[in-house]
């Protein structure tokens, strides 16, 4: 046993010990660790623990704590160099290749890094004690190798209004009471990845704020089973296939996305020791940008890992269908690789161009991180389109595994789904289902809106692009202010 590193089994045991309030399809869920709707997400997170112990992945998935010097899982680490940032991207790719789906731990990890730096900045300016408080919490997270979600997105209500202008103030999570021993918060966080199988939530505000919004400028940690905390799990495309199917699930063990939920805070109490911002509205933008940068940096890592698996499935399917040597198929496969590796280049680039913050930790280059994520909103769709193109219409018309096993029609399904003679029809079915799961429905939307929608990236690019410098370059080249001879 190494302090700061647990294994997947211990994570599963921890899940059995907590009793969060979770609802799905009208049912109150008793055990996330064993329910088939949640098991794929639990399996993916468990792998982030187990892979850290595997010699072949250890170099990427473990590091040394800057607080204790102990060996820790990378997902509790605070980055202190560009090499750390690069390591994260490589670790995410390696994990994505093994799970073929979101594995959820990066969000809380990115929240840790963002809050680490912003608490320091707040203390420097205001003389508060948030950073030491956060360090105490961080030590606990590292020692326990805790899986925490990062909860940022509010429901937002009327998007044209600020938090304090909403008809229903609960559309943005806010403080409703300050007590001697802590605060009481109300509101909700939407689309929270890993919310139902995390051990707690790191909650952050979602948009830049003004003085009137001070009650909404709140950042804290809360355990997943805190009284008043309610989780409503989201439906996913073909989620009923998790119950009673094997082949038709496609990705049999890990599902298709991270497992997102609407998390309701119905007057939840948070002790001061877990409050990391309370009213500092002028630091909200900094927190949002640093979290978003860290999270957008990731997508050319994890999604490229997924793409590796998808490209592999598409290539294998082309072989099974006898089309792998056709020049147009090879060209499309090459295009898929080109697009995926372009995304990887983006994530590596924003990591290499990362820099130190006043707290001493490093963040990726914000402009390049946003470019990375904006490219993900496009390239992943194109990779999926090419996979579907190569797969053929059978992707949408494939009979179920139940009919393949049926005593009356199974022989026909097996006969007419066969491709090249040497490969069984079952192989083709499994590859098609994997491609279906990875390219149809919920999986793609995650690439579009996860870590923020495309317009959020464009706003950041607009803010970060050095417009005046570019203008000066043009003026110099065209000799704008010089009189013609």
């Amino acid at each position: 046993m190494i302090m700061g590193m647990i294994r997947g089994d211990e994570y599963r045991e921890r899940l059995q010990r907590v009793k969060p309030e979770i609802y799905y399809l009208g049912e109150k869920i008793e055990s996330v660790a064993t329910h088939p709707a949640f098991l794929p997400h639990v399996n993916a997170v468990a792998l982030t623990y187990d892979m850290a112990w595997a010699p072949e992945f250890e170099e990427l998935l473990t590091t040394k704590s800057h607080l204790t010097g102990e060996k820790i899982n990378i997902f509790t680490h605070i980055h202190h160099s560009t090499a750390d940032l690069v390591q994260k991207v490589k670790a995410l790719r390696a994990l994505g290749q093994q799970t073929g789906s979101c594995f959820a731990r990066c969000v809380g990890h990115d929240a840790l890094n963002a809050i680490y730096s912003v608490t320091y900045d707040m203390d420097q300016k205001n003389g508060t004690e948030y950073h030491q408080r956060f360090l105490n919490f961080l030590k606990e997270v590292q020692a326990k190798d805790l899986f925490i979600s990062g909860a940022m997105t509010d429901p937002k209500g009327d998007r044209s209004l600020s938090p304090s202008e909403q008809a229903d103030p609960d559309q943005y999570l806010h403080v409703v009471e300050k007590r001697r021993d802590g605060i009481v918060v109300r509101g909700a966080k939407a689309h929270i990845t890993g919310a139902v199988n995390a051990l707690g939530h790191l909650v952050m505000p979602t948009t830049s704020m003004k003085e009137a919004d001070a009650d909404f400028a709140v950042c804290f940690y809360v355990p997943v089973d805190a009284p008043g905390l309610i989780h409503i799990f989201g439906r996913q495309t073909n989620d009923e296939r998790k119950c009673g199917c094997l082949i038709d699930q496609g990705n049999v063990e890990y599902g298709i996305v991270g497992g997102e939920a609407l998390v309701v805070f119905d007057d939840v109490f948070v002790p001061w020791e877990h409050v990391f911002m309370c009213g500092e509205y002028d630091f909200v933008f900094e927190l949002v940008e640093r979290f978003a940068t860290a999270h957008r940096q990731n997508y050319g890592g994890c999604k490229v890992g997924l793409s590796d698996a998808l490209i592999g499935a598409t290539y294998a399917l082309a072989e099974v269908q006898g089309t792998a040597k056709a020049s147009h198929i090879r060209d499309k496969l090459v295009e898929m690789v080109h697009l995926a590796e372009t995304l990887y280049c983006c994530s590596l680039a924003c990591s290499c161009q990362g820099y130190a913050l006043p707290a001493g930790n490093f963040m990726a280059d914000p402009l390049l991180a946003n470019v990375t994520k904006l490219n993900v909103t496009r390239h992943i769709y194109e990779i999926a389109r090419l996979a579907q193109d190569i797969a053929g219409g059978i992707l949408a018309t494939l009979p179920s595994e139940i009919d393949w096993q049926d005593s009356r029609v199974g022989k026909y399904v097996d006969k007419y789904l066969k491709g090249v003679a040497s490969v069984p029809a079952e192989t083709r079915m499994r590859l098609l289902r994997l491609i279906e799961g990875m390219t149809c429905g919920t999986a793609l939307v995650e690439s579009m809106h996860g870590a923020g929608s495309p317009q959020a990236q464009k706003i950041m690019i607009m803010r970060r692009a050095n417009w005046e410098h570019k203008k000066r370059l043009a003026q110099k080249l065209a000799k704008i202010r010089e009189r013609p001879k």
């Binding site: 161009q353 990362g354 820099y355 130190a356 913050l357 006043p358 280059d365 050095n466 410098h469 000066r472």
Partner: protein, 104 residues
């Protein structure tokens, strides 16, 4: 005879995509140093450098290298709109550096 003035040298990052006008900043510092009684500007190759000013156009701070810092006992790093990691608007950077130089 060795100069009794504090010898300051300037090293630039290379200016690939600067967020601040490094040439303008460099000229402003040159001007300020030329009028100062305690400080003097020397080339980066000088045998004696007391303080190295590392001027970088963006937070990446590519000029902030160990071998550059090692040329002087003390260094000050400008990285975009920060001076030694403290956020500083571009218009105030020159004054902030002079204040640090004078503070010893």
């Amino acid at each position: 005879m060795l100069s009794s003035k504090i010898q300051v040298s300037v090293k630039y990052c290379g200016s690939c995509n600067p967020l601040i006008d490094l040439a303008k900043l460099g000229n402003a510092l040159k001007e300020a140093l030329s009028q100062d009684n305690d400080l003097t500007l020397v080339p980066p190759e000088s045998a004696r450098i007391d303080i190295m000013l590392i001027l970088c156009g963006c937070p990446r701070a590519c000029g902030n290298k160990e071998e550059i810092r090692a040329r002087a006992a003390r260094s000050i790093v400008v990285a975009g709109e920060t001076v030694d990691l403290v956020p500083t608007p571009e218009k105030d950077i020159s004054a902030a550096i002079m204040k640090k130089l004078k503070s010893g």
